[in-house]
């Protein structure tokens, strides 16, 4: 259990930042998709800059994790159809609900009970994908 305590703390940090950054806001998401403000792009962009700099520092200085392991920096495989078609479908859902998976959980914590419908539907979507997977092009 103690092994997982750090993930709970990091998750709490993530939840606070998701809310206070406004990236979970339905209004902000629609504004972003209409290019009416740079706000969301600046948040995502600066997040990527911090992430990318961290990755480069780890790579160049060959830093280890706190437990001394070699840090795994292998990217996910490039599935041309899966990444584009799956990504497109997720984009539809992102605009419809105004939420991506992190915010689904955050909105639940924020007391927006209606989001339970989206969460249950998302689980259903995962199950349908799991069964269709052998038949889908990736």
């Amino acid at each position: 259990m103690l092994k997982h305590l750090k993930f709970l703390i990091i998750g709490i940090f993530f939840g606070i930042v998701l809310i206070k950054s406004e990236v979970i806001s339905w209004f902000r998401i629609q504004e972003m998709f209409h290019f009416q403000s740079y706000f969301m792009y600046a948040i995502i962009g600066s997040a990527v800059v911090v992430g990318a700099i961290s990755v480069q520092i780890i790579k160049r200085s060959n830093l280890k994790s706190f437990s001394g392991e070699e840090i795994n920096l292998t990217g996910k495989p490039f599935n041309k159809v899966g990444n584009t078609l799956g990504g497109l479908i997720f984009g539809f859902g992102w605009a419809l609900t105004g939420a991506c998976p992190g915010p689904l959980y955050a909105l639940l914590g924020a007391g927006y009970w209606a989001i339970l419908i989206a969460i249950i539907s998302a689980l259903l979507g995962v199950i349908v994908y799991g069964y269709l997977r052998p038949k889908l092009p990736h």
Binding site: G11, S37, L73, T84, C100, P101, L107, A118
Partner: protein, 187 residues
Amino acid sequence: MLDLLRGPWPWFISGPLLGLMVPLLLFTGNKQFGVSSSLRHICTAIFPLKADYFKYKWKDYLWSLVLVAGTIVGAFFAVVFLDGDSAPAVSEAAKSMFAQWGLKEIDGILPAEIFSVQNLLSLPTLLMLGVGGFFIGFGTRYGNGCTSGHAIMGLSLLNPGSLAAVISFFAGGIIVSNFIIPLLLRL
């Protein structure tokens, strides 16, 4: 200090803090940041599913479920103690668009006129949450990642597949937000 935290956070604070998720998880647990796989682990953990996709030891990924449990707690904390439910200061252009869409007020995280529990049984709301949620689950698993795993983590790794996915996220979102949402809100 608390007053400062309660006010709206500028993008150059919250963006880098979100990016910190990458080194935090890499250093503390040698884990790559990602959220949408937790949806698969939940399905595997609670439903007796026979497809191969659900045949693995979900307990090996308990960290991911603990992370999202923390996310729920953190969001609750932010709303209760840090005024997290206040209205975002969206642009004038966005304000007039929302007015055109028939939304009377911009308040809270989600528009109450659409997403309040009382309005749950209206057709637009059911479509937005039900169909939208389904697309999130199906699409993130088909695309193997979401805004966390592909946009923040994947782009940080300069991973080409993640870039393709992120471009697709935005293509899908732009299409729906511009052409479908206005139609749905007129139903």
